[in-house]
């Protein structure tokens, strides 16, 4: 098991916009240790969401190397990336991204369905109880408040017992009371040892994390603890 769950080395990301190429990420180097609760902050367009997409194996860097739990991600094909997203990562979105025609319980089961897990209804019920929605298993998202929807989404993210939770503006669509509830859950999960990476532009939210990585114009402005190393500490045999 690697101490650094995420290791990013010289990550560059370019997008071509017509004739121009726009550099979104310029030489990003950082690492995130297992069990850390990190907030990535910065103004919109600073590249923080792009970085989260790369960490989440939804996007690939133009240049640079990304190790997730010691595994180099760059060379993996689409199916292998899907498998990693399914097994190792848990996603929490700003707009919840629940499937509208499924009940809360069914929504939590989606990731497990891709693993063909037979015990998924049991796991889903347990997790919904844990986030305080044990009484609303059979309600559809449209019948729920924003805070409840986000708690379903968190239960879904936890369903596969992932190594890393990735949250993109998790409180962005919530009122402050629900936001506090969600952050409370995050802190609980952190205390239990989960690694959480959260993107936010809200300083008050970001400050509740253990560490803040501040982004500006595609570079890390501060918050990189400098414990990443160009001479890799990870062991490929693991």
């Amino acid at each position: 098991m690697n101490e650094n769950i995420v290791q990013l080395e010289h990550i560059h990301k370019e997008f071509s916009m017509g004739k121009n190429t726009v550099q979104i990420l310029k030489d990003v180097n950082t690492s995130i240790r297992r069990g850390e609760f990190v907030a990535i902050m910065g103004a919109s367009g600073s590249g923080k969401s792009t970085l989260l997409n790369i960490i989440g194996c939804l996007d690939k860097p133009t240049e640079g190397t990304y190790f997730l739990d010691g595994q180099q991600i760059n060379d993996l094909n689409d199916d292998e990336l899907a498998r990693i997203r399914n097994r190792k990562l848990g996603f929490i979105f700003q707009s919840f991204n629940l499937l509208p025609y499924y009940t809360a319980q069914k929504n939590v089961e989606v990731s497990l369905a891709y693993q063909n897990r037979k015990d998924r209804s049991l796991i889903a019920k347990g997790l919904l109880e844990r986030v305080g929605l044990g009484h609303r298993l059979n309600h559809k998202p449209a019948e729920m408040s924003g805070g409840e929807k986000q708690r379903i989404a968190i239960a879904r993210a936890l369903s596969t017992n992932p190594d890393l939770l990735l949250a993109d503006e998790p409180t962005g669509a919530l009122d402050s009371k629900s936001g506090i509830q969600v952050m409370g859950l995050f802190k609980e999960l952190h205390q239990e040892g989960k690694t959480i990476i959260m993107v936010t532009h809200d300083r008050e939210i970001g400050e509740q994390a253990e560490r803040i990585i501040m982004f500006k114009d595609g570079r890390i402005e501060y918050g990189d603890t400098g414990n990443h190393s160009l001479s890799p500490r990870w062991n490929l045999a693991q």
Binding site: N86, F91, F93, V110, S111, A113, Q115
Partner: protein
């Protein structure tokens, strides 16, 4: 995700959009029902053609008076039987036949029926079989015997169903007493405008002398030696008759020569043309139905962009997404296929009322199902591929 799991997901998708799914299915339902009907009607018409001609030898040739083109009355007569027999080496047998309506009565039943004057050769030429008694003999023809052989239907009409011994009973034809010599086994089919089941057969000479008179133009039934000699027989007959009737080269034939083989061929050709036409229509309907599926699936993929992005983020592979949408399309078209087959099968009995011959067949079911499945795969693939290939990041952002 396993295949079964994905199929369940696809069925969910169909069920959650019941109305839309059903409307999408309509094209397929109509297309499959059409195929079922097409195959049933096609086989039915093929069968009725086969039935109609199964008793008839393809080496049979008919010689009839021409009803068009000739300003002078035809000279076709029973004398031509001898002419053909003598001059046509490709011909095996010739029999004349005259027919007309006559009042036939037995007991209190009187019917107006077609009476046919024939010779003893007529039996072998038309492959008649007998349920009782036997056909006219050469003797009965030469002696102008008043004997009658009855078709199955007319025998039943005159003597009633369930009558065991009809042979030997008497009946009156135009008030002349005849003895029944035999009853022909039911053929069920008509030959031109003469139904054998409704016919009363009497000796040719008797018909001329007592019933129909000598002015009626006969029709000749000719048997060619074999299939290969049919063609030469046709030309030999034409040449012999033109000579016998003393027609000048610039005059049209006063007779018509038709071979049964070409009649069968023409009838089969007609049946086949009809089948091809109907299959073309069914295919067009199915293709239009398929385009409908593609359309709806494309809209559905667009509507569910965010779902696709979410599923991809949660671990769906491209092929999971592809399968989900492809199975949905196939599911819609297969359900449509099932309903269409049901509809088609339900309509088949109604066609009986329109006197359209139909034959139910496994073949129709298989073709209909296969077609609906193929349509689903073919027209579902593009939308499903589009869903699978959508960029997950953009899909997640889609509102």
């Amino acid at each position: 995700m396993g295949i079964l799991e994905t199929i369940r997901l696809a069925l969910d998708g169909i069920w959650l959009n019941k109305v839309r799914s059903f409307l999408t299915m309509l094209g397929i339902i109509i297309g499959t029902a059409t195929i079922i009907l097409v195959v049933a009607v096609g086989l039915g018409s093929k069968q009725s053609v086969d039935n109609q001609f199964s008793q008839m030898s393809v080496t049979t040739i008919y010689v009839m008076a021409s009803n068009t083109g000739s300003p002078i009355p035809t000279k076709l007569s029973s004398k031509d039987v001898a002419v053909i027999k003598e001059n046509c080496p490709s011909v095996a047998a010739v029999a004349p036949q005259i027919s007309g309506k006559a009042a036939v009565s037995a007991g209190s039943n009187t019917e107006s029926v077609t009476v046919l004057g024939v010779t003893e050769d007529y039996q072998s030429l038309t492959n008649l079989k007998f349920s009782s008694g036997s056909f006219l003999t050469q003797e009965s023809v030469t002696t102008k015997e008043k004997i009658a052989v009855l078709g199955a239907d007319i025998a039943e009409t005159l003597f009633g169903a369930g009558q065991v011994e009809i042979v030997g009973q008497t009946l009156n034809i135009n008030n002349k007493k005849f003895t029944v010599g035999g009853v022909i086994e039911r053929k069920g089919e008509t030959l031109g405008n003469t139904s054998i089941d409704d016919g009363v057969f009497i000796p040719y000479t008797t018909a001329q002398s007592y019933i129909l008179g000598t002015t009626v133009t006969p029709r000749l039934t000719v048997q060619a030696k074999d299939l290969a000699s049919v063609k030469s027989a046709l030309s030999e007959i034409a040449t012999a008759l033109r000579e016998a009737h003393k027609l000048r080269p610039n005059m049209a034939d006063d007779f018509r020569v038709v071979d049964a083989g070409s009649k069968v061929g023409a009838a089969q050709e007609t049946a086949r043309t009809m089948s091809v036409l109907l299959i073309a229509i069914a295919t067009i309907v199915l293709v239009v139905g398929g385009i409908g599926i593609m359309n709806v699936m494309l809209v559905s993929v667009r509507e569910r962009t965010k779902e696709i992005g979410t599923r991809r983020a949660l671990g769906a592979r491209k092929k999971d997404v592809l399968r989900q949408f492809l199975f949905e399309a196939i599911g819609i078209s297969m359900f449509g296929g099932v309903l269409g087959v049901g509809l088609g099968e339900a309509v088949i009995p109604l066609l009986k009322y329109l006197e359209i011959e139909t034959v139910r067949s496994m073949q129709g079911l298989v073709i209909a199902f296969a077609f609906s499945g193929i349509v689903g795969v073919f027209f579902g693939f593009y939308p499903a591929k589009k869903a699978a290939d959508s960029n997950p990041i953009e899909a997640l952002r889609y509102e």
